[in-house]
């Protein structure tokens, strides 16, 4: 009897274990099949490099270049803001702060993950967007920059938590060795701690980017949703995620437009997959040290 229970439990655990793999494969094949059909009718090169996204016009155009630029701009901006702040925060938490401060800060940072993206978008809309408009004296505050700022908030917990792990796992002996040679605390952090933890920090950044590039609600609310190629970060943009989310409800099931949205999904999937893969490589490197 005990043996049977054992075998059954083992099977259940196995099923749960591989289910995530199966889901990923299913999602990928679903996206792939829909996109494949789409690319038979619409050239993949025109899809990627096309400047115009006019899905409803008579001669429908499905160029996602402006959306790619939009996603890229918002993500890049978010990284430029989030990465330095996050690394400094991680250094502060693991190297400088006293134990009490460290515990409080860590839980606060982890709590940031729990803020729903719609709330972040809402706050951005009410507080940040008018500020941006006034501060930079531009016609609208709904810009890529506003999206970057709010998304930086969303990426920070991921980057801080994982960088902090990497920094904390730098062996104590390295730090002691550096201090004993007369290095100051900051020199030790800069040249020994950050250097040793670098693969982990890069992985953290990658995962942060992964989070930002897939974010939808916040960007719909505060980036202006204009699918033109922007000339600067202070212009409205539209991201790939925003297009899918806003348009999927109004398309006819099976139409070209519908399939085009799936193709955007495939592009997004491939980008995040690649980012996560690179992050994994770096995390692995960190472990082998």
């Amino acid at each position: 009897m005990r043996k049977i229970v054992d075998t059954i439990i083992e099977k259940i655990i196995f099923l749960c274990g591989i289910s995530s793999v199966i889901f990923v494969i299913l999602i990928f094949s679903f996206l792939f099949i829909e996109s494949f059909v789409f690319f038979k009718d619409f050239s993949i090169i025109k899809f990627i490099t096309g400047r115009y996204w006019y899905p409803d016009s008579k001669l429908a155009l499905f160029g996602i270049f402006s959306l790619l630029v939009g996603s890229f701009l918002v993500t890049l901006g978010a990284c430029l803001i989030a990465v330095p702040i996050s690394i400094m925060t991680a250094l502060y938490i693991s190297e400088v702060a006293s134990k009490n401060v460290r515990d409080i800060l860590k839980s606060l940072v982890e709590l940031m993950v729990a803020i729903p993206s719609v709330v972040i978008g809402f706050i951005g809309m009410i507080v940040l967007v008018p500020c941006v408009k006034k501060l930079f004296n531009i016609p609208t505050g709904l810009t890529a920059f506003s999206g970057s700022v709010m998304l930086a908030f969303m990426a920070m917990p991921t980057i801080v938590t994982i960088s902090e792990d990497a920094i904390r796992s730098v062996p104590w002996q390295y730090k002691e060795g550096a201090l004993a040679l007369g290095a100051t605390k900051w020199q030790t952090m800069r040249w020994i701690v950050l250097k040793t933890a670098r693969p982990g920090i890069i992985a953290a950044t990658m995962l942060g980017i992964g989070r930002v590039i897939g974010e939808t609600m916040t960007v719909i609310m505060i980036t202006g949703n204009s699918s033109r190629i922007p000339h600067s970060i202070f212009e409205p943009v539209r991201t790939m995620t925003a297009v899918i989310a806003t348009e999927i409800g109004e398309t006819v099931n099976g139409s070209m437009h519908y399939k085009a949205l799936f193709s955007i999904g495939l592009v997004l999937f491939l980008i995040t997959f690649l980012i996560n893969f690179v992050a994994d490589l770096f995390l692995e490197k960190n472990k082998n040290k």
């Binding site: 006293s98 134990k99 062996p171 002996q173 390295y174 730090k175 002691e176 060795g177 550096a178 201090l179 004993a180 040679l181 007369g182 290095a183 100051t184 020199q187 040249w191 020994i192 250097k195 040793t196 040290k289």
Partner: protein, 251 residues
Amino acid sequence: MSKIEIKNFNLYYTNFHALKDININIEDRRITTIIGPSGCGKSTLLRSINRINDTIEGVHTTGEINIYDENIYDENTDVDILRRNVGMVFQRPNPFPISIYENVAFGLRVNRISTSRSIISETVEKSLKAVLLWDNIKDRLYKSALSLTLEEQQRLCIARVIAVVPHIILLDEPCSSLDPVAIQKIEELIIQLKDRYTIIIVTHNMQQAARVSNDTAFMLFGKLIEFDKTEKIFTNPSKKETEDYVSGRFG
């Protein structure tokens, strides 16, 4: 005048009284070993001399440690300069996970001893020669220091210390993770260094203390029991506890 003068020195880890009223005078250009059973405070005492204990939370001290008549526990002491002058080699070799060359150059760079590439390269070479490592590794200076054997790593750690030209070198059980052949080689190196530096070694190994040192301090339960010429400690100690320990009756 003695070089290191420890006066009424006490150290507490939060509430634990780890060093009790230590008084000791250590002379210039001699090798002094500190022996005693585990937990007697010998490493703690050693780590007080370059204030690396400061990095542990909850440590506080009373009393003085004077190096060349300057109390290093004075509030005006620049700890980074102190640590440059009082080098330390640790129990487990701890080279940084960067190249061999950069390991030695690190101390020169952080202490702003020199920014000239040629002077740094010269010092790196000189330091590695001083620890008899140069010939072995001159072709792989830019390889990771972690690719060296443990003995070579420990030599590298000594080279790293020598490169910043300290007056005093502290060695905290420098041989405890090495094999007998390597131990012998490191001991030879330590004896060679005596002419130029004041050396203090903490060791578990009484034979090692007898082999390498001029003076020996024996500690027990956070107290200094006896401090004298090594020969005297091992052949004719004045305290009963010392005799019991060196004759192997406990410890």
